[in-house]
Amino acid sequence: MHSTLVRAQTVFGFFTTVAFCVAALIALSDFVSPQTPSADVKLRNVQVVRGRPNYYSTKKEEYAHIKFDLDTALGVLHLQNQRPKYQITDYTGKVANRSDVVLELGWNVQPWVGALTWRGWRDWGVWKGLKGGMTERFEFPGIKERVKVRKEDLGTAKGGEGNRGKPA
């Protein structure tokens, strides 16, 4: 039978087959393109201050402000979303005078389609492990005494309140 419906079905079926084959090829191409990432992370300056996780919170935590130099050669990878606003603390909320701190570079490769991959230290197929990308061990200093800390230094994002708590 060659009714319109059957033709439409055939065309749509062919379209999805081709689309999925192309997507599969794209996904597989990831694993045959060589990666030779290398990076250099150098610590410049650390401070520890007291602050709150957000404007409405009553919880006091200690945050580390870390300044560092990052030099990367990631090859074919494009960088996105390297926003530096993450709060550096832990579940105890106390990070002053903490020892054995290491800065480590990590990333997540977001594919056009296919498998998500993360930074690797070891060679895997045509992908080389990351060279460098880690600092020496260092120590957090004591709490910096309050000398008029400006609001943006506390990491309380102003105007970001409306963008909080959206699911998924």
Partner: protein
């Protein structure tokens, strides 16, 4: 040709059986995938833009829930206790593990703050074993958008079911 009364009862029964076969196969595949990945919901659709630019609304994600030593930087899907909405966010902090349960703090890439406000009352960290239903390992863009359409315009469900039923019943070999 499109006349129900012209169908033989045997033919009609065969069509219904065929339909049942399609449904049960899909169900079996879904449950099989669930067992293989150890996740109650191995494929999820991204419902909001909180993980942009990595994931957009309607993207299809494949989860894996074996080997529960989740690292920082992984993207996990979790259910908030008492609510049934799966949330896809990135792990930004972890502690515990080993003898004590592994705890995670998550944050949407596109959100200003971490998820502490999103969790159940009094909860400030996720329990890896109890709350998380899987870690994202695969990604297909946009394909899941149809489910968002279906949930936002419920009448589309009726239309689609009706159309599916009609084509199956009226289709002849």
């Amino acid at each position: 040709m499109l006349n129900l009364s012209s169908l033989q009862p045997r033919q009609l029964a065969a069509q219904i059986l065929n339909f049942a076969l399609v449904l049960s196969t899909a169900f079996m595949l879904w449950k099989g995938l669930s067992v293989a990945t150890d996740s109650p919901s191995p494929i999820v659709v991204v419902l909001s833009g909180s993980m942009e630019p990595a994931f957009q609304r309607g993207d299809l994600l494949f989860l894996w829930n074996r080997g529960q030593d989740t690292q920082i930087g992984e993207v996990v899907v979790y259910n908030v206790r008492g609510k049934d909405i799966p949330i896809v966010h990135r792990v930004v902090r972890r502690f515990g593990g080993g003898s004590s349960p592994l705890r995670l703090l998550t944050k949407g890439d596109n959100n200003a703050a971490d998820d502490t406000e999103l969790y159940a009352r009094g909860q400030s960290f996720l329990n890896r074993q109890k709350d998380v239903i899987g870690s994202v390992v695969g990604y297909i863009p946009f394909v899941g958008y149809v489910t968002i359409l279906l949930s936002e315009y419920p009448w589309l469900k009726t239309v689609m079911l009706g159309l599916m039923g009609l084509t199956v019943v009226l289709q002849r070999e």
